[in-house]
Symmetry: C2
Subunit: 135 residues, 2 copies
């Protein structure tokens, strides 16, 4: 049994800060669960264009508000606590957080993130078999 605490893990390398977001990976590939689980904070006013070519991801909003734009259809969906989206088709999207405050999301990735990825210039994480672009 693994037991971890978000506040404590925020002080370890499981916390990753990037432009517009901060993520704490409570479960990584090395934990052997077959998925990874991250608590990700999207900074107020952030606009993030993303495309996970190598991963499926689900995102559940726990706090804050914003929107997700599906770049295949142009459709925008409001995000608020209780809303979940799942990128079941490696959907290209833009995630926007309202300026009024951060959005806090519970994210699941399959296959699991190793912790060594960063978003590439194409908005993707590399596949686990590709060399990581950064530590």
């Amino acid at each position: 049994m693994i037991v971890r605490n978000l506040a404590e893990e925020s002080l370890t390398p499981r916390r990753v800060d990037s432009e517009g977001w901060t993520s704490v990976r409570l479960i990584l590939e090395e934990d052997g669960m077959g998925f990874s689980f991250h608590i990700t904070t999207i900074h107020p006013g952030a606009e993030l264009r993303m495309h996970y070519k190598n991963h499926l991801e689900s995102v559940f909003c726990m706090q804050g508000s914003g929107s997700i734009e599906d770049l295949a259809t142009g459709e925008r969906h409001a995000i608020r606590p209780g809303v979940m989206y799942a990128l079941d088709a490696h959907d290209q999207h833009i995630l926007r957080a309202d300026a009024s405050g951060p959005m806090v999301m519970a994210c699941v990735f399959n296959p699991p993130v190793t912790g060594r990825e960063i978003h590439g210039p194409d908005g993707a994480y590399p596949a686990a078999t590709e060399p990581a672009e950064s530590a």
Copy 2:
């Protein structure tokens, strides 16, 4: 892209009520994500003995407090918002919610739950290939 809302899905068969808990399965096997994702409410004062023989599960506490007892070691861990536990070894456990209020948890199962399982008398969900014990 799948977009779902906890409040709306609570009114559908994705909501399952059982003794001591209520779960809304926002992602099920049929969604093709390779995991399932549930928002599960543990009723105040509930004491649930569980053993997922066929699934790995992670649980992140969003609201409320209680404890998890690892039946292999007898160790008890406090549960409060921000605490996550992962049953990476099909751990037998007892989950307890404090009487002061419900615990609300974000749960991930691998392999994904189909939505047709119930906990068997052994505290397990059947494997997906076994006949479901109930609708």
